[in-house]
Assembly symmetry: C2
Homo-oligomer: 233 residues x 2
Amino acid sequence: MNQIKTIAFDADDTLWVNEPIFTKTRLEYENILSSYFEIDDSLELKLYEVELRNLKLFGYGIKGFMLSMIESAIELSQKKVSGEDIRKIIDLGKEMLSHPVEILPGIEETVERLKDDYQLIIITKGDLWDQETKIARSGLAEHFEHIEIVSEKNTTTYKGILDRYRVAPSNFLMIGNSLKSDILPVCEIGGNAVHIPFHDTWLHEKMDKHTIGEYSFHELKSINELGDYLKTI
Amino acid sequence: MNQIKTIAFDADDTLWVNEPIFTKTRLEYENILSSYFEIDDSLELKLYEVELRNLKLFGYGIKGFMLSMIESAIELSQKKVSGEDIRKIIDLGKEMLSHPVEILPGIEETVERLKDDYQLIIITKGDLWDQETKIARSGLAEHFEHIEIVSEKNTTTYKGILDRYRVAPSNFLMIGNSLKSDILPVCEIGGNAVHIPFHDTWLHEKMDKHTIGEYSFHELKSINELGDYLKTI
């Protein structure tokens, strides 16, 4: 038997599909703006610049993304964007907010199987309201003992959660798709982490592999490998 | 000695000024829209209707308010509102988000005095990111043992918090300015509540006094009366 007692899951792109919804929206957004100027690859970068500039004020989540899309549309169209088109951008965001929650393959079975042997937690970053409604709509909530929605995933956040539930880092395993948010801060406080990459990752969560340096963690291709992994450690 | 062991404070308009910032913004918003149509008292109601319609998607907080202001501006101007003016509305919202935190009179002294005898908590509703930055900027955080930012303040929320910290309702006192969010749900689960009205209250938090019926709670004119109140119970 391994020493893991508590397993925490990231939510977006670990439990359910998230980034592809943003990607689809960005394409529809480009489509709206294509009547004002010629669209090229730089649009995504320009939008990202505005998102980054607004991050300190807005934090993470769809509402902030909506506001950044509107702000970029005004800037890039040199204030020519019409009320009608801004309305369409708001509608794109509302579609994202009410998008069905698509659970990733293998998650339900894995969570079902683990919940009797481990304390299961969700630790997710983002907008409180948005994450709560997604968790409710996912139908997964009942399998998790605690749900933590946090504004940022860093060592302070993880330490706070482990303290709150009196879990030693050596007994804690975090599972997620983001090296920056799910893996490195957990390694840094002496916890265990399993990286399950997702094909689509937001620029902001991407990381230069070289900075991973001294920490070791495991990478699995899919959640279906988790059961076997837990037997080996 | 009374039986209260844990005192929880609402934040917006209990610890610090909040609604007047919205009121000021609404006036500046009217000013922007006044070049499109004649402004009368119905504008506030119309904006509130849009806010209410969006509440299920956006939840509480300034970012949702910004999006509702933009949506209303497009609707009410019959899509004529310019990119320039939408930019101004976004700037109004950004000013709100970075507005200095103005602690209400008597709060610092009261919290200082109570913190050795009681477990102090903040329970605040709204946007996670926004509330966290306000708490950080307020300089009050160190006096509170726990900070709970919630998406809705109802009996389920309060029960969850009391369970989490193993506090019996009879040992719990909630202090806040909203009958609907701070007082009634706490009375309903058998807790104690002190209402400190604030001169400015958002329509959504207003309540018909008649619905208060069976519950009893105390009303204080200001936080400065709290110390004496605690001696009497």
